[in-house]
Amino acid sequence: MTGNYPALLVTVPLLAAFVIYGCSWLHKRSCLFMALLGLTIPFAISVALLKKVLINGHISYHLGGWDPPWGIAYELDPINAIVLVAVTTVALVNLIATSKEIETRFSDRRGAFYALYLLFVVGLLGIVATGDLFNLYVLLEIASITGYSLIAMGDPARAPLSSLNYVFMGTIGACFYLLGVGYIYIMTGSLNMADVHVLLPPLYHSSAIVVAFIFCLVGVMIKMGFFPLHSWLPNAYTYAPSPATSLIAPLMTKVMAYVMIRLMISVFSPKFVFSSIAASNAVVWLACLAIVMGALMALAQRDVRRMLTYIIVSEIGYIVGGAWIGNATAMSGAVLHIINDVLMTFCVFLSLGAIARSTKGYQIENFSGLFKKIPVTMATFVVSGLSIIGIPPTCGFFSKWYLILGAIEGGHYGFIVVLLLSSLINIILFFRIFEEAFFVYPKTNAVHTEGEASIAIAETPFVTLIPLVLTAILLIFTGIYSGSLIALIIKPVVSAGLL
């Protein structure tokens, strides 16, 4: 049983999704329980796999007993394993926290929602765990299509069109990736990542391989929302239903960033990426542009959800920039930032969803007096905001530490300036909201003590509050333990050939 964990990781939620959809015709109320079961088991499995990888090192699982390169292999190294744990944690905690909202808002379509939710998680888990290039495409499309559907379940006025635009751009991205894989297959005859890694070195100078890399990269960049290929992102994440946004926003783009790093390290080795293609400088500058544009566009937003989506664009810029600087510190910083960003984005969107219960809208003006009304929820929002700004001891500080250190080592001072500038802009972005929530101006000319008595505490229900608080605490824990995470991440990075 334990030997089959990698396969079970993906198949359990897959089966659960179908069972849930079937059950939804018969007994709607059991759907939530089965969905929770369908996510708790992968969570437990991913933790067990992480422990195994830490003890035994690299795990290679051959699906169906077929040896690669004929069969599909699932390869787990420390980077994989940690990202898997992050994905399953977010999926599970999000389901628990938003279960009440799902049950009320989608009560007639519960089965469909849970099934799509679980299938989305299946897709992501498969993307992270797989060691086969085409298998990655299949799971990528599973995650994407279910993502499109989840997003379309939101605001009926805007969500379908936003989702349709996402469909168009996402399909182009996935097709480019597929094209790139096709070129690799033509040149090497293999689809297994490790096999291709061995077969590629003699082919580094062939233009087909360069084109393959570029196609794969552009495809992945479209899907991760890297400026200027991000135009689908703000609308899609703003108008999606909040249980879906707090699932998709933290995970989809970061998992695609992971795919980019996996391609750079394990398929096309760093030697190819940084010497044969002499474009790393250009990509880092593009990443700087992404960071700045994301921050500036976020400044221009009055809708808090849209502001957060532009912050996601900025964060992806950090990861891409860090990965392309070309030394081990920056790459480890980028991987650490993937994990940290999953948690930070999750916490901020989840707290925003909880806050939305107590406000009339998502504009900054609607946030008045929230520190009095929902103190604990706002406290978690503050913690996640501080993490995005990069204040120690939250996790966001430490990934910035390694990114800046890597940039100093690599001599990329523009990247450092842009990183610090975006931190400063993030301070403005978040403290605008904190101010609005903190300073209660009585609308009448009454003395300030009177104005406050009129706001009673109406805290979020425990089913959402407790996961929120745990996530906020997790942000601080991940910060404190970032040393151990970096020690884990840096080993596969260095052994791949980065210095």
Partner: protein
């Protein structure tokens, strides 16, 4: 003549798929009607499917179906006689993906039509802005 032969004629599958891809991309970007955009997306995906399938073809190759000798037992096959079946298999999956994406996109188009009573993108944007 040589140039034409090696770069155009011999690699005609590449040119075909590029042209189809560009048609699809053009439709996705330039056309106003959502359904036309969807069809363009489908053409785009089909181009890539065709490309993959064309990779596997060989001169004089036949369909990759292996027959067993009557009475059990198998004989070794000569792979050069058969067209490469792997891209075909991969593309079966890709066709399924393409169909599902198309289905989801059509469902979304229906939802949009139900609400806004139009499928032309510029009219759609005007109606959204007004509401």
């Amino acid at each position: 003549m040589d140039f034409l032969l090696t770069h155009l004629v011999a690699k005609y599958n590449f040119w075909l798929y590029i042209i189809l891809m560009m048609i699809g991309l053009y439709a996705m970007i330039a056309k106003n009607n959502l359904i036309k955009k969807l069809v363009g997306m489908n053409i785009f995906q089909t181009a890539i499917i065709l490309f993959y399938v064309s990779i596997g073809s060989k001169r004089g190759g036949t369909i990759p179906i292996v027959e067993h000798i009557a009475g059990g037992g198998e004989h070794a096959i000569n792979p050069t006689r058969y067209v490469n079946p792997l891209p075909h298999v991969l593309m079966l999956t890709a066709i399924v993906v393409s169909v599902s994406t198309f289905g989801v996109a059509l469902a979304l188009a229906i939802k949009i039509y139900q609400r806004y009573k139009t499928l032309e993108e510029d009219e759609l944007l005007t109606r959204i802005r007004e509401s």
